[in-house]
């Protein structure tokens, strides 16, 4: 079934491509301007065909027809395919142009005409891109006209795009009148206006020599797949349209089997195909030929072989092909890991923490690498699993510093000398040097973080947004964590002055000249 869709989709692509080739690879001299209308014509008509096809395929795939009227991913996908084709066309044209310019010095008007062709094509692609993007937004009956976000999008997109284009805007202007669906017209108008605002003057200039675009109908395809398709169709990472790949579904037993390559003769399993091929030699001379032993080449059939994706055998899983938002898995390994992680018991337990369980042994190993490691701690109390994350945080917030791991000696010693540290607390409290918000302070204290109480409270660490919280009092500050407590009591007064002067600007004395500046004190 799936392969059927793929083959169905292929011929369409072929036809579209051949159209474009016919049109642009061999532009007849002097005919390039009249050649524009057919360019806007045939591709769109071929697109209609393609859409019809796609719709049929969609119906085949989707047993519930009501679904397709309500929500139609196939249509979106075909739309995307269309855009893809368009871009290919432009690429081809540009390439052929550059080739030609290299070979023959063609007439300047011809070159200009070709440029116009390209820009026209670009315009249409951009318009369709925006429309399609709008149609992808969920919960809208009429996305383009009603959603301000989309309007904004088109505005912002419009101006730079318009700036990039240097020629014909005619088709898009004309398209206003040609759009059959009035409901969308206002959206289009906005979009096109935004595209044209910077181009009006140039349009005027171009109108004369380029009276084309009467049949500029490239917006029309949009009506086919627009209003209804508002949801999803977006696959994580890759946007393979359904039908462009073959879906394979392995059985549960197959997935959980330790070996993936089985001998067709004796049934022995192997982890690697190469090993299987080596094994096969034992079954007869016919397996010993160079061809049989050679690695199956990829490029032999890669051009025509359909792309393969995998489905999870677990019914109801999003990775199962029956799911309406089916997201295929890329490789067999993905299937294996997904199935084990999502639908199997987590039988591997971390021997260090005894809490974390895993069903894939590689996940356990990854976890064990980090389990029990020091948490990276910031002075604000936030912890990080990685040092670079902590440093990124520190770089971002003024006054935050990394906290050093707790030093047991320090705490015990400090608690012995609680009395000595009391004046220091008084001083710091009276000065109100608490840049943190109260919640920060509490978390900080709760962390039992002996480190850097001073650095954190020093005037240097005043965070602008916390500056107003001078009257913040320290709730339940643990005296035993005061880093100054080891000091003799005589030092406290010095501390006070140091705090006052810390911010003052002291001019530098000179360079690194310790030895020269310091004279010897002999005795």
């Amino acid at each position: 079934m799936a392969s059927g869709t793929a083959t169905n989709a292929d011929p369409d692509q072929q036809t579209v491509r051949s159209n474009s080739v016919e049109q642009f690879y061999f532009p007849r001299p002097g005919q390039s301007l009249p050649g524009i209308p057919p360019f806007f014509g045939p591709p769109s008509s071929s697109l209609y065909l393609a859409n019809d096809n796609e719709a049929k395929v969609g119906n085949q795939l989707e047993p519930n027809p009501s679904q397709s009227t309500d929500w139609d991913p196939q249509a979106i996908v075909s739309n995307l395919t269309f855009l893809e084709q368009k871009i290919k066309q432009v690429k081809d044209v540009v390439q052929s142009m550059s080739n030609r310019e290299n070979q023959v010095a063609s007439g300047s008007c011809e070159v200009a005409a070709k440029q116009q062709l390209i820009t026209a094509d670009l315009t249409s692609i951009i318009i369709q891109l925006i429309t399609t993007a709008g149609s992808l937004l969920p919960s809208m009956k009429n996305p383009l006209s009603s959603n301000p976000a989309v309007r904004q999008l088109s505005n912002t997109l419009g101006s730079p795009m318009g700036f990039g284009m240097n020629a014909n805007q005619r088709p898009s202007v004309d398209s206003k009148t040609d759009i059959p669906d009035i409901g969308k017209a206002s959206g289009y108008e906005e979009l096109i206006n935004s595209l044209n605002t910077t181009q009006d003057e140039r349009d005027e200039l171009i109108k004369g020599p380029n009276p084309c675009g009467g049949e500029g109908s490239e917006p029309t395809p949009m009506e086919d797949h627009d209003v209804k398709e508002s949801d999803d169709g977006d696959h994580e990472g890759e946007n393979l349209p359904p039908g462009s790949y073959v879906v394979l579904q392995l059985e549960k037993e197959e997935i959980l089997a330790p070996h993936t390559h089985f001998c067709l003769i004796c049934g022995k399993g192997f982890k690697r195909d190469a090993n299987l091929r080596m094994h096969m030699r034992g079954h007869g001379d016919e397996y010993k030929t160079a061809a049989a032993l050679a690695k199956p080449t990829r490029d032999s059939g890669s051009d025509h072989a359909p792309v393969t994706r995998y489905s999870c055998p677990f019914v109801g899983c999003k990775r199962n092909k029956e799911h309406k938002k089916f997201q295929p898995l890329k490789t067999i390994l993905c299937v294996k890991n997904h199935y084990k992680r999502s639908h199997c018991d987590k039988s591997y337990t971390c021997s260090r923490c005894n809490t974390k369980k895993f069903s894939v042994i590689a996940d356990l190993k990854t976890h064990e690498k980090h389990c029990g490691r020091d948490k990276w701690l910031c002075s604000c109390g936030t912890t990080f699993s990685r040092k670079d994350k902590l440093f990124g945080h520190v770089a971002l917030f003024q006054g935050h510093t990394p906290a050093l791991p707790m030093d047991d000696v320090k705490v015990s010693e400090a608690s012995e000398q609680q009395q000595g540290s009391e004046p220091m607390n008084e001083i710091s409290r009276s000065m109100g040097c608490f840049p943190c918000s109260s919640s920060d302070g509490i978390s900080n204290l709760d962390m039992k973080m002996a480190d850097d109480v001073r650095g954190y409270y020093s005037p240097m660490s005043f965070d602008p947004c916390f500056g107003a919280l001078d009257d913040f009092t320290r709730p339940g500050f643990d005296i035993s964590e005061d880093p100054f407590s080891f000091l003799p009591s005589g030092c406290t007064s010095n501390n006070e002055t140091s705090r006052v002067n810390k911010g003052s600007n002291v001019p530098p004395l000179g360079l690194w000249k310790w030895t020269e500046t310091l004279s010897d004190f002999s005795h």
Binding site: F391, V394, P402, L487, V500, F521
Partner: protein
């Protein structure tokens, strides 16, 4: 009180001293000015001792202090309240407790003016002492913590509280990691100079944070770090960076230099010596972006040099003043190109460059007439012709290093001596020069450093020539000049009284009477007498009593030196900090006497002291325990010395190097 009255007061106060009333009538300010003009600490001390007025003037006027022992520290800090610079790098047995106590004794505001503190090699000081120091010195701007190998994140974090810090040296603080660095850069956002040389735990992450948090940075040293190109990307964002040293950063390559070249134009000096993965391509791209580069050190990192690099070098014509190409294979054409491209060069280093010839040097110096320092160490192809062209072109020459250039002789040196009146330093080690050469060199009256090692043909006559005119000589190296006798030394001390560093190793004709002459060198600080088998305790006594400034003394393999020598040292050499007495004929008694008396002694090497018993070692080391920082002993002692002693030594920050050598007596 009127000014006149003040003067009278001081006159009265000074009246008792030998300085007399004349000095006493001058104001404190004036006396301070007088003191400031005294260069030698010795002279200042004499003034201080002779007159109370001077003593008082110095007390209020003194800005810098270097303390050698911890006991007087509290008293000194109290006595000099306006100190700005404090050097504790040589302070024996300084630890947290003594530092904190001294700071407390200085009292409130006692250290308020302190701006620079040097704690290099003060391995006993930990985070507690540093926290006390930082708390007491609110205007602290510069801290040198280099070679405190035990210092880690906690120590550095203590420094981070000094928010005004501008300069910080953390060389070889081995335990400092990214965390410690992060503490500093967050706490001291105004840092301008930072050296984290050898702090091998610091990574790209730390350097990145540094670049983000310290935009004022002007000088950065990341030598021998395991950082990669990512760090250079971060560093390139520093707008004011002028100096960047990254010696031996093997993870940095051309890509990093290219990233660096995209930074601001402030960079003036770059040192990429020993960066194995840097090639001339990367340097070319670096130069391309830096039109104002003044110093470029690329020693031992380039294997070849391409035309692109040379042409880029020429774009620095106006600015480049120093270029070091040590270890590179150079050609005449390259030297010529450098000469043409960079004719503002003041310093060129071609040490160990193969392929340096007379022609190359001639074409180089023909254009670079401003050269003051020329390093041709081991360029053994050059002859007198090169010296002639140097002498003819570089009239400003101050420093010439010619070690192992054995093709030169007195004729070339004559030209140099005649044409370079400013010559201050010349290295002729292993050049085989003779007395005639010294006769010519004696014309250079500005000579400060003279290295004549391994020139065995030099005799007392040559020394006499030098002594006759080079009165400013500070350093003299006579390593293995074994024709020199006591008479040579007598001649030397006659003329060169300023000598501070003297190397006489293996000059085995020297006897006690020669050392007797050396005793008149009052300023001598470093003396190496290795393998002078004829000297005894008597000679050592005359040195110990005469050379009061002696800091380092090497007596290895002076087989005749006995307890009498050590006793003399113990009684007189109070400034002695490093001592080598391996293979000497000393006993436990002498060792105990020595170690218990010398309060500044920090580093002692005593391998193969065969006459010292285990108990002798034990008692001697216990006596010196708190002060020693480095110890070199025979491995066999490791097991027989008491573990408590070793623990105690370790706790005091003493590192013991155990060596395993057979006892071989050799006569040079």
């Amino acid at each position: 009180m009127s000014r006149e009255g003040q003067k009278l007061d001081y006159a009265a106060a000074g009246g008792n001293g030998a300085g007399g009333v004349g000095i006493g009538v001058l104001s404190l300010d004036l006396l301070g000015q007088v003191l400031d003009r005294l260069r030698e600490p010795r002279d200042r001390k004499a003034c201080r001792l002779v007159s109370r007025a001077f003593e008082r003037a110095e007390a209020t006027h003194r800005r810098a202090l270097r303390v050698l022992r911890r006991e007087p520290l509290p008293r000194l800090l109290r006595a000099f309240p306006s100190l700005e610079r404090l050097d504790l790098s040589a302070c024996a047995s300084l630890d947290d407790a003594s530092l904190s106590a001294a700071i407390a004794a200085a009292g409130a505001g006692g250290l308020a003016g302190l701006r620079r503190v040097c704690l290099a090699r003060a391995s006993g000081v930990g985070w507690r002492g540093l926290e006390a120091l930082v708390a007491a010195c609110p205007r602290l701007e510069a801290v040198d913590l280099s070679h405190c190998v035990g210092a880690g994140d906690r120590e550095v974090a203590a420094l981070a509280a000094a928010a005004g810090l501008r300069e910080l040296r953390l060389d070889k603080c081995l335990a400092v990691t990214d965390m410690g660095l992060a503490k500093v850069v967050v706490g001291c956002p105004r840092l301008e100079k930072l050296s984290v040389k050898w702090c091998r735990e610091i990574s790209d992450i730390g350097i990145d944070l540094l670049a983000k948090k310290c935009p004022e940075l002007r000088s950065l040293n990341i030598s021998y770090l395991k950082v990669g190109n990512g760090s250079l990307r971060s560093i390139s964002t520093l707008e004011k960076l002028e100096e960047l040293a990254m010696v031996g950063c093997s993870c940095i390559d051309d890509e990093g230099l290219e990233l660096l070249s995209k930074g601001s134009d402030s960079l003036q000096s770059v040192d990429v010596s020993r960066c194995d993965h840097v090639t001339y391509q990367g340097l070319a791209s670096l130069i391309d972006g830096r039109k104002f580069l003044q110093k470029l050190h690329v020693a031992d990192c380039l294997h070849e040099i391409g035309q692109r690099f040379v042409s880029k070098l020429a774009t620095l014509k106006e600015t480049l003043t120093a270029l070091k190409l040590d270890g590179l294979e150079v050609s005449d054409s390259l030297l010529q190109a450098i000469g043409e491209g960079c004719n503002k060069l003041v310093e060129i280093g071609l040490s160990k460059c193969s392929g340096v010839t007379d022609e190359g040097i001639s074409s180089l110096v023909a254009r670079c007439t401003d050269l003051r320092t020329i390093d041709l160490t081991c360029c053994n192809l050059i002859t007198n012709n090169a010296l002639d062209s140097i002498a003819d072109n570089c009239k400003m020459l101050e420093c010439l290093r010619l070690e192992s250039c054995s093709l030169i002789n007195e004729k070339g040196l004559e030209r140099i001596a005649n044409c370079s009146p400013n010559l201050k330093e010349i290295d002729l080690t292993d050049c085989g020069v003779n007395d005639a050469a010294l006769q010519h060199l004696a014309k250079c009256s500005e000579l400060r450093t003279l290295k004549l090692g391994l020139c065995s043909s030099i005799s007392d006559k040559g020394i006499a020539f030098i002594s006759s005119n080079c009165g400013k000589l500070v350093e003299l190296d006579l390593y293995r000049c074994n024709s020199i006798t006591d008479d040579g030394l007598a001649a030397l001390v006659n003329g060169c009284k300023k000598i501070k560093l003297l190397n006489l190793c293996y000059c085995n004709k020297i006897t006690d009477s020669g050392l007797g002459h050396l005793g008149s060198l009052e300023e001598l600080t470093n003396l190496e007498l290795r393998c002078l088998v004829r000297i005894t305790g008597i000679g050592i006594s005359s040195i110990a009593t005469g050379c009061k400034s002696l800091i380092e003394l090497d007596l290895k393999r002076c087989y005749s030196v006995d307890d009498a020598g050590l006793g003399a040292l113990a009684r007189n050499a109070f400034n002695l900090r490093q001592l080598t007495i391996s293979y000497c004929q000393v006993t436990g008694l002498g060792l105990c006497h020595l170690l218990s008396s010398l309060r500044c002694l920090q580093d002692i090497k005593m391998v193969h002291l065969s006459w010292v018993s285990i108990e002798g070692f034990e008692i001697a080391l216990r006596a010196a325990c708190g002060r020693l920082k480095k110890l070199k002993m025979l491995n066999g002692l490791k097991t027989v010395l008491s573990p408590e002693l070793l623990q105690m030594l370790h706790a005091c920050g003493c590192r013991i190097r155990w060596v395993d050598k057979p006892l071989v007596y050799k006569d040079c």
